[in-house]
């Protein structure tokens, strides 16, 4: 018993036949091959599976795909390409904000959503904004630096 969901993913419209209990992370990874979306906890605690839904950073492991009707979803694959990085991606690369890379897509998308609302965040605002994204490698210092760097790049 599947349901049909029409939504926009990385700018392209998709009609997805999905199971009622199917989570968005499963649909994106297993149906569409968007493996940049990472599944690390499955309980909405770590933020690795973060995607943008109508511009909001949300955890795709606790979202049902069936609830995505009419929504616009952006995954890390929809942000920038190696030859044309988004400024947030570029900033994470340059500032050393990436180690193992498993939290990186969620971290970058969360940072982007934050910067879209608050283009020049303070240290405290960055820390609050990223407090739902766990990273076990970096100690977060260079992630804070990455977000500041991204803010500079995106400044008009």
């Amino acid at each position: 018993m599947s349901v049909e969901v029409t939504c926009t993913i990385n700018g392209e419209q998709h009609v997805l036949p999905v199971e009622p209990a199917e989570t968005l992370v499963e649909s994106l990874r297993l149906r569409l091959g968007l493996t940049g979306v990472k599944k690390a906890c499955g309980t909405g605690d770590c933020g690795a599976c973060t995607v943008l839904v109508d511009g909001e950073a949300l955890r795709s492991c606790i979202l049902l795909t069936a609830s995505m009707q009419g929504k616009s979803i952006t995954t890390i694959e929809g942000l920038g390409t190696p030859d044309n990085l988004h400024p947030v991606q570029e900033a994470f690369v340059e500032a050393g904000g990436i180690q193992c890379g498993f939290c990186t897509p969620g971290m970058i998308l969360t940072a982007k959503a934050m910067l879209d609302k608050n283009p020049r965040p303070s240290d405290a605002e960055i820390m609050e904004g990223l407090s739902g994204n766990l990273c076990r490698c970096t100690g977060y210092v260079k992630i804070v630096d990455s977000v500041h760097r991204a803010a500079e790049k995106m400044a008009p």
């Binding site: 493996t35 770590c46 390409t81």
Partner: protein, 774 residues
């Protein structure tokens, strides 16, 4: 020596763009639709006899391809990093809640889950031990009836260190400090859960296992027998790894063994991924320790002796726990580092590794050294207090200096890098240690704490060494191959820098092939803070040979009658020194070499001076070089809520030479963050072998809001044997944070707490006990 052009530069990570764009494929991203799903039925009770297993109902579930119990295994029912004592599927008894009782392969996740629900197991419960002090008591139920190497009941091993005359030193001492310390079981919490793709290989008749792994050759050696195939038919591949911290030296074996036997049985590819809860319940952990520490000193503050007894919670299996010859592992490190980074002439240490029914304790960043150092650094703070001496001063009095011997008898040499004194000075200066903290008001108290440490580079075992392949291509680019793993530390970048520097090409012209037994030679496991140094040296060896060959070819065929010593290679251009008009691209020289029967492929190797260590008296030279470090923190403690906030943390590490300073800072910052988690919040809470907090909302790790802006300082006292002077940096920075925080909390509250984690609950309890005068 040539001026360094690439080593020491803040080169961007070679994998950063692929990771930032989400295009990198981790193991789980390689799942295909034709793969079966593998799942395990884990033990319902951590310590129990299995009286009967009925899988008949499970086999009837539509979509189920196989259900395996121990009798269905294709090969040896045992594996492990050191000894093969961990069954793939338990036969008649469970030892912890991560034991697999049965395995299922099915065409869908749902079918596999349904099959697990329908397996019926009858258990007869046995008493389960969480505490090694209970498990080692006379009369305790044996967790392993016939363990191949356990020495005495549940005691796996007792290792000893004896140096000097401890009794005499204590008799002569002005001050004796005696304390018991406890450190918890903690989880690695790598963000990428354990996962494996196992696929039969029709060409070889063997098997390929793809899994995030820290040691592909160790996996091959450990697992080939499990699948009933020779070593060379087991191909082990580790794609990029989403964090490991020591855990993925072991946990990859668990998931690979299970997926592998299913793939062999079904003769089909099998995909198996652990849920986060399964990672918490079943994979390896940091050893919990119970340390009784006695320290003798003079009234001038010179430490005369230590007398230390350490009990380690081994958990259910040996893993990296250690035994007598030759695999001493974590247990041995608690002896070697029992006196921290100090010159202590007399020492006695006894370390007992004891089986319990908690998850097996394995390698975890620091490998027993954080535990041993925690106790010693707490002791040193108490010594300073008793003498009314500054905590920094007491450390400077006792720190290891040139020609001093450690408690294993190893002579410390400046030529191998001995920058402890500089680390202490730099941290004290940056932190402003001499300045009094501004007074705090109300319930929020302030304090500062200090700690120092040392950590050996590489594995203190007889078979330590590294190999690599290097193959110069005809266009002047270089292919390197090593079996080491890119786990987030930035190894591919660091090796590319060493290769580029040595050969004289650009970093962008190097590609490093990693961690695949079919393509790369054994460069050793990615553990022990060893790779930049040992694998780096192997790469340096290979590239130096290639450079030599290119210079010879250029001298002979291209710059006639020039001495090769007058030729150089930089940025892929071969030229005569002082005559820049005489130059050729490296590609032209490589082509000439190719046309002249000069081999362009080489094997590079490096083996450190052989380690020595006696399990009878703990004497020997375990590692060829040691990293040193110092750490200072400032904390606030709210005595009403119990909440500790680390306001500042300054850390210095003598890494010999920072091949890539960004990576070194990343290791120092990340290691310190893990140390902070260990000190303040992390603990696997066990109740009779059952973990009570197996989620990221009940097992807390530091978020971005839990950390101050960490302040790393790189100190460089070169190691004459390291590539460009380097020493290992991966683990050391984990060590100093916990004792520094504990000492700062003592400073803030005036209360001595010898147990971590220092949770809010612990602080409130300690404050209450203190007020009640206990």
């Amino acid at each position: 020596m040539r001026k360094l052009r690439i080593v020491g530069q803040r080169e961007l990570r070679t994998d950063a763009i692929a990771k930032a764009t989400g295009r990198v494929r981790f193991t789980a991203d390689m799942r295909r639709k034709d793969m079966l799903t593998g799942k395990a039925l884990f033990a319902a009770y951590p310590h129990a006899l299995i009286k009967n297993i009925d899988v008949s109902e499970a086999l009837r579930v539509p979509g189920v391809v196989t259900v395996m119990t121990a009798k269905d295994l294709p090969g040896r029912n045992g594996y492990g990093v050191m000894i093969q004592d961990k069954p793939v599927i338990v036969e008649s008894k469970t030892h912890y809640e991560g034991d697999a009782v049965a395995l299922v392969a099915a065409v869908s996740d749902e079918a596999a889950r349904e099959a697990l629900r329908r397996i019926k197991v009858d258990y007869e419960l046995l008493p389960a031990y969480d505490d090694p002090r209970e498990a080692m008591k006379e009369g305790a139920v044996r967790i392993h009836e016939n363990h191949p190497v356990a020495e005495d009941g549940n005691i796996l091993v007792t290792l000893k260190l004896d140096r000097g005359d401890v009794e005499e030193a204590f008799a002569q001492a002005d001050i004796i400090i005696e304390n018991d310390y406890e450190t918890p079981i903690v989880e690695h919490c790598y963000m990428e859960p354990d996962v494996c793709i196992a696929e039969p290989d029709p060409l070889t008749g063997g098997l390929t296992v793809i899994s995030p792994a820290q040691a592909v050759y160790a996996n091959r050696r450990s697992l080939a027998g499990v699948f009933g195939i020779p070593h060379n038919k087991l191909r082990v591949v580790s794609p990029l790894v989403g964090g490991g911290f020591g855990g993925k030296e072991d946990s990859c074996l668990d998931v690979s063994a299970m997926a592998g036997v299913l793939a062999v049985k079904c003769d089909r590819p099998v995909y198996m991924e652990l849920t986060r809860e399964e990672v918490f319940r079943t994979t390896g952990k940091r050893h919990a320790t119970y340390i009784s520490h006695r320290l003798a000193a003079t009234k001038e503050g010179k430490v005369l002796a230590v007398d230390v007894r350490t009990i380690l919670n081994k958990g259910a299996y040996v893993s990296m726990g250690g035994m007598k010859e030759p695999l001493h592992a974590v247990t041995m490190r608690t002896l070697v580092y029992a006196a921290g980074a100090y010159h202590v002439p007399n020492a006695r240490a006894r370390s007992h590794s004891v089986f319990t029914n908690t998850p097996y304790a394995c390698a975890f960043r620091g490998f027993g050294v954080p535990q041993a150092t925690f106790a010693m650094e707490c002791q040193m703070d108490e010594l300073a207090r008793r003498l009314g001496m500054d905590p920094v001063k007491i450390r400077q009095i006792n720190m290891l200096r040139h020609n001093d011997r450690t408690i294993t008898g190893q002579v410390m040499l400046e030529s191998r890098g001995l920058g402890l004194g500089e680390c202490i000075e730099k941290v004290a200066e940056r932190f402003g240690w001499d300045k009094a903290l501004p007074a705090a008001a109300g319930p929020v108290k302030k304090g500062k704490g200090f700690a120092v440490y040392m950590y050996g580079t590489g594995i203190p075992l007889l078979f330590e060494g590294s190999n690599c392949y290097a193959h110069l291509q005809l266009d002047g680019t270089l292919s390197l191959a090593v079996s080491s793993t890119e786990i987030g530390q930035g190894l591919n970048t660091v090796l590319a820098q060493i290769a580029a520097e040595t050969l004289g090409i650009r970093v962008a012209d190097v590609v490093v092939e990693l961690s695949d037994t079919a393509k790369t030679p054994d460069s050793g496991p990615t553990v022990g803070s060893r790779s930049a140094v040992l694998v780096g040296n192997a790469v340096l060896d290979a590239c130096a040979k290639l450079r030599e060959r290119m210079l010879t070819v250029a001298a002979r065929y291209m710059f006639a009658k020039t001495d090769p010593r007058d030729i150089t290679i930089e940025d892929g251009v071969v030229s005569v020194i002082g005559k820049p008009e005489l130059k050729q691209p490296l590609s032209a020289v490589a082509a000439k070499a190719y046309a002249s029967q000069v081999p362009l492929a080489v094997v590079g190797s490096w083996y450190p001076p052989q380690a020595s260590f006696s399990a009878e008296d703990g004497q020997g030279n375990p590692c060829h070089a040691y990293a040193f470090g110092a750490q200072a923190v400032e904390v606030t403690v709210d005595v009403e809520t119990g909440v500790i906030t680390v306001q500042r943390a300054v850390m210095a590490c003598d890494v010999g030479k920072a091949i890539n300073p960004v990576n070194v800072e990343g290791q120092m910052e990340g290691g310190s963050a893990q140390g902070l988690g260990w000190a303040l919040m992390e603990e696997s809470i066990m109740e009779k072998g059952v973990m009570r907090n197996p989620t990221f909302h009940s097992y807390m790790i530091p978020t971005i809001e839990d950390l101050p802006r960490l302040e790393p300082i790189i100190v460089e006292h070169p190691n004459e044997l390291g590539p460009y002077g380097a020493k290992g940096v991966g683990e050391p920075a984990t060590i100093g944070m916990a004792p520094a925080i504990r000492n700062a909390v003592w400073d803030a509250l005036g209360i001595k707490i010898n147990v971590i984690p220092l949770t809010a609950r612990q602080i409130i309890k300690s404050v209450k006990e203190h007020e009640q005068g206990r």
